[in-house]
């Protein structure tokens, strides 16, 4: 299983804190057996294996972003996601996985933000697909309602030299758990946008693992608006040489919303690039944890890894924690990070107000312009979505 932090180095060992368990009314054998009617042979055994691990684990007792309010609604209420694909696409339900696909699936295993939550969607998913040989663009939308959870597990195999564009849309009024595993074969490229809105009292977990072969290129834009609890986890493994990964996290959390986001780029191939460049704004009683990290393996010569983040606090009641980690095992690299946390630039506010904008207009303008600068990078690929996201931000900031 892929771990974020390598705990060993030359006979030395790093101690990493674990989580205490939380009591949540959990799914068990009953749910497992009632939902495996259409499962294929490979999938059943895959699922059983996972279930043995699942039942031994407990939900995590996170200190800052507490899951104490988390409840698992009856599985029979689970929602399915909708898939829109322009052009031709070949995909099939995960339940029909064959031996080869199962092998790929299991080679892309990871802890996610928490192993228990990853396993939850792997086992109890109401839908999930294996995507191969598809033209672009592809849109996957999920919805969860009060008492109507959505569990999804997808596997994407991007064939050699193919360029793929995916938009994952998520709207949660209840509980969403989504796992995505991506294998980017030699020379392929993936441009993926996640846009999520999480309502108050809702929980949204996305766990994503990307494995990049030689020359593969990946760009992830992860945009979240949250009044509830959102926990995005993106883990990029640059295994091949000359891979490129760029992650653009952006969030706006307000009211009593919370976000605990983790973006990991782990490079082991020579001359690869990893960039994480994120922004976040917090309003009202929002809480945010932002954890970007770059890991460079020994012998990954010529790697460039950069992190940058700026957190803007709009309210005196918000809370932000950023942990920009660098973990470097090779000296022929450039690795850096820069992080700032502050409020809206007062000089900018003053300037705008001197031109006749009132305080809230000026604030809105500044925040929107921050996101605009970020969206301008992806507008070519996701024009419509960018417009929608900008509108979402503007209506949120007052």
């Amino acid at each position: 299983m892929e771990r974020v932090i390598d705990r060993d180095h030359n006979n030395m060992k790093l101690i990493v804190p674990g989580n205490k368990g939380l009591s949540v009314n959990d799914y068990g054998h009953l749910e497992l057996s009632s939902f495996n009617k259409q499962d294929g042979k490979e999938y059943s055994s895959f699922k059983m294996k996972r279930f043995f691990e699942y039942e031994k684990l407990r939900f995590p007792d996170w200190r800052k972003i507490s899951l104490e309010e988390l409840q698992l609604p009856p599985l029979k209420n689970a929602m399915c996601s909708t898939i829109k694909i322009k052009g031709k696409g070949i995909y099939k339900p995960i339940k029909e996985m064959n031996k080869a696909e199962r092998f790929i699936f299991e080679s892309l295993d990871f802890e996610g933000s928490d192993r228990k939550i990853v396993l939850l969607a792997d086992i109890f998913n109401s839908d999930g697909n294996i995507f191969k040989h598809f033209d672009t663009p592809l849109t996957i939308s999920t919805y969860s309602g009060p008492n109507r959870p959505s569990y999804t597990t997808n596997l994407f195999v991007i064939p050699e030299n193919m360029k793929v564009k995916i938009h994952v849309k998520n709207y949660s009024e209840g509980l969403v758990v989504m796992n995505n595993r991506f294998l980017l074969q030699n020379g392929s490229s993936l441009d993926i946008l996640f846009s999520g809105v999480t309502d108050k009292n809702a929980f949204s977990f996305t766990n994503n693992l990307y494995k990049l072969e030689n020359g593969a290129e990946l760009r992830i834009t992860d945009f979240n608006i949250s009044d509830g609890t959102v926990v995005p986890h993106h883990f990029v493994l640059g295994r091949g040489e000359k891979t490129k990964a760029e992650i653009i996290p952006a969030f706006l959390v307000a009211n009593r919303g919370k976000i605990d986001s983790q973006y990991v780029v782990k490079l082991s191939g020579k001359e690869s690039h990893g960039i994480i460049n994120g922004i976040g704004t917090l309003d009202d009683f929002a809480k945010a944890i932002f954890r970007p990290s770059i890991h460079i393996a020994s012998e990954a010569k010529g790697v460039i890894g950069k992190e940058q983040s700026s957190m803007i606090m709009l309210s005196e009641n918000s809370y932000v924690q950023t942990i920009p980690g660098l973990f470097v095992n090779e000296n022929d690299v450039e690795a850096s990070h820069a992080a700032t946390v502050d409020s809206i630039n007062e000089e900018h506010l003053y300037y705008l107000m001197s031109r006749g904008y009132n305080l809230s207009e000026a604030r809105k303008m500044i925040v929107v312009s921050m996101f605009n600068a970020l969206f301008s990078k992806i507008e070519n690929s996701f024009e419509e979505e960018c417009e929608r996201m900008k509108n979402d931000i503007a209506t949120r900031i007052d």
Binding site: V16, P17, M313, E316, T340
Partner: protein, 463 residues
């Protein structure tokens, strides 16, 4: 750069010293009572020790940092009293001990540039002296045991109040078994212009050193305290779990400088904390070079308005060294500011892990902080990590953090070599340049010492 980084031989001399008391390995209640009774301690201190022991028995290992499973505390000799009386006359110190400290340059630097010196050999202080004029001004510089007896109110009020025994396992252990260390009190508006120094030497194998340093800088006072440590190398583990507590009152300023050069069989699990009142200032200047494993994060609590913290340090992780070091600054007072500049060098397979905490509490409005971490990796068999946690709870503060990890630039190396230096010398020069901000802040003798240590480590011939 093969064979360039060697173990430091110049600290590696051993003296067969006579001890008047040597405890059996392990921590037992009886032993603690014995130590307390030997030290003639008041009842409250014995109680403090026994309470700490209870905490220790029930506490778990830290859940982060270096692996301490190799360290068996029940195999450590926690108390070792050299056959010497505490005194302020250097001539009275037994020959072997005197020779040890003379080789380390202690009395020499006292004559030259210090206001006072304390020297601890294994578990007990063997020499403590302060210049007469400072004593007359009311400056107190005593070994900790004497202070317990002579200043019981002050000690009782402050001792382990900043670092309670239940903070972590090694704090609890320290609370139970502490021995030696310094007590410093600087009266109001008193400035001690020359530094005070304490030197800690672990001489015997398989022992632990648990000295306690308590500094109280009263209103408007100023002091610079220097701590040096070393030990000869043994094949079995030594443990250092010392503690430093510093109380910086209103408008006072304290600088605490450390050059840590424990031998590479030492577990250095040390705790250092300062609390700063209004307009006070705390500065930690640290060079961590020795030990096999270190966990140390000097901490400043900026309690008062407009209080200030400055953390400047370099960590050196050579062969088989796992150095988990960093800094913690917690802003509680409004308008408080901090400046953190931490550097590391990893080489020959060593592991330098920077762990930082910067917290701006809700009430610390208009605070400012700037954090910089820089890591130099000499080769690709080593590892450098940075893991800074930045917590901000209000929107009126200004926080910047940056980090960089990289190697010696090829162009810089070429430039210096083109002026006639060998590759190793050029690298050593660049490394010295890299730590210059730290050496610059140290008194001359220590700056020279730090450069010398780096040179020895880099096996360079240049001076």
């Amino acid at each position: 750069m093969n064979n360039v980084f060697i173990d430091d031989q110049s600290f590696n001399f051993k003296h067969s010293t006579r001890y008047s008391a040597k405890s059996k390995p392990g921590i037992r209640k009886g032993l603690i009572e014995e130590i307390s009774s030997y030290k003639n301690e008041p009842e409250w201190m014995l109680k403090h020790r026994l309470d700490s022991l209870e905490v220790f028995k029930n506490i778990k290992e830290p859940r982060f940092g270096v692996d301490t499973s190799m360290l068996d505390i029940q195999q450590i000799i926690p108390y070792l009293r050299p056959e010497a009386n505490k005194g302020n006359n250097w001539d009275d110190v037994p020959y072997e001990i005197k020779d040890t400290f003379e080789r380390l340059g202690i009395p020499e630097s006292e004559r030259k540039a210090l206001a006072g010196v304390g020297a601890q050999y294994d578990s007990e202080v063997v020499y403590q002296n302060i210049k007469k004029e400072l004593e007359n001004m009311g400056v107190v510089f005593l070994d900790m045991e004497t202070a317990v007896k002579e200043f019981p109110e002050l000690v009782r009020k402050y001792f382990m109040k900043l670092v309670p025994a239940d903070v972590h396992k090694y704090a609890a252990l320290h609370g139970a078994i502490w021995s030696g260390g310094s007590f410093v009190y600087i009266p109001e508006n008193t400035e001690v212009s020359l530094p005070l120094e304490a030197y800690f030497r672990m001489n015997a194998q398989g022992t632990g050193q648990f000295e306690h340093t308590l500094i109280i800088a009263d209103r408007g006072s100023k002091v610079h305290f220097i701590e040096g440590c070393s030990a000869p190398r043994y094949n079995i583990h030594n443990l250092h779990a010392g503690m430093v507590e510093i109380f910086v009152k209103e408008h006072a300023s304290v600088r605490y400088s450390t050059i840590q050069n424990w031998s590479k069989n030492t577990f250095n699990l040390n705790t250092k904390r300062a609390i700063v009142e209004e307009n006070g200032s705390m500065e930690w200047i640290s060079g961590s070079l020795g030990s096999e494993k270190t966990m140390l994060y000097p901490t400043t609590l900026l309690k008062g308005r407009q209080s200030h913290a400055y953390h400047l340090g370099v960590t050196y992780a050579g062969e088989a060294q796992h150095m988990d070091t960093g800094s913690k600054v917690i802003h509680l007072g409004s308008g408080s500011s901090s400046n953190i500049d931490m550097r590391s060098i990893s080489v020959n397979g060593g592991w330098a892990f920077y762990r930082g905490l910067l917290k701006i509490a809700k009430e610390a409005r208009n605070s400012r902080s700037s954090v910089k971490c820089t890591s130099l990796m000499i080769d690709n068999n080593s590892r450098a990590d940075t893991y800074p946690v930045i917590v901000v709870e209000n929107n009126l503060s200004d926080i910047g953090h940056e980090a960089k990890i990289g190697r010696i630039g090829e162009e810089e190396l070429f430039y210096i070599m083109s002026r006639g230096l060998t590759e190793d010398d050029a690298k050593a020069m660049i490394v010295r340049g890299f730590i210059e901000p730290i050496t610059k802040e140290l008194p001359l003798e220590y700056a020279v010492e730090l450069n010398r240590l780096i040179n020895i480590e880099m096996n360079s011939t240049i001076g």
